[in-house]
């Protein structure tokens, strides 16, 4: 008969709350979150796109709303910000597919660079909209 080997010391539960997410994990989950935001935000973009091509009046409506309505400005800033982040993280992902930034050190640097570049782009988009 085979003796059952049970290692009593193995961890049964991992307390997820006791672990902090490394910067690489934060960058990764933000890529997913911005993807979901974009999927929902696309409804606004398609609506504006459709209206802007519909007629001169529709085009004027899109332009004036984007220039005057704070809520609309804020929404479009949010959606375009998500797009900027998702874009930068996607480019980083493609580099990782090619074998770059896969070590702990380079991976962390690339993740931090991702956050910085995305933050700069998001600020620039804000300046552009306002």
């Amino acid at each position: 008969m085979v003796k059952k080997v049970v290692n009593k010391k193995r961890p049964v539960n991992l307390d997820l709350a006791s672990m902090s997410m490394p910067v690489t994990a934060i960058v990764s989950i933000l890529h997913r979150i911005t993807g979901v935001i974009l999927f929902v935000g696309l409804a606004f973009l398609f609506y504006a796109f459709d209206l802007s091509l519909d007629s001169q009046a529709g085009f004027d409506q899109v332009v004036s709303t984007l220039q005057t309505n704070f809520l609309v400005k804020f929404i479009i800033w949010g959606v375009v910000s998500a797009l900027m982040y998702h874009f930068v993280a996607g480019v980083k992902h493609l580099f990782m597919d090619m074998g770059y930034f896969e070590e702990l050190q380079s991976g962390r640097i690339a993740a931090i660079a991702n956050l910085i570049v995305a933050a700069i782009l998001i600020v620039l988009v804000g300046v552009w909209i306002w």
Partner: protein
Amino acid sequence: MVTQVTSFGRSGLYDWMVQRVSAVVLSLYTIFIVGYLVLNPELTYDQWSGLFETTWMRIFSLLTFLSIGVHSWIGLWSISTDYIKATGVRFFFQALCGLTMFVYVVWGVQALWGL
């Protein structure tokens, strides 16, 4: 091998590749549209509609709409299979996403080709 009936190409490698090809299309379109709008701050309706009347822009745009469809399908499929464990709920979520993607593609086509 476990075959997934809900994945886009029924194969992880195929989905992996489609996700990257569509990503390149989407990034090029993003760069183009943002660049165009930044460089044309005094954009008029005639200019804007004229751009989308050109054949190359319609091809580029339609390619982008289709890329949005497959890219978001593969992305949301990955997310839903990771986080939604109950089959029924996951199926419902994926069905909703699939319908929304289809609506986006048709909406885009209608905006481009008018009535």
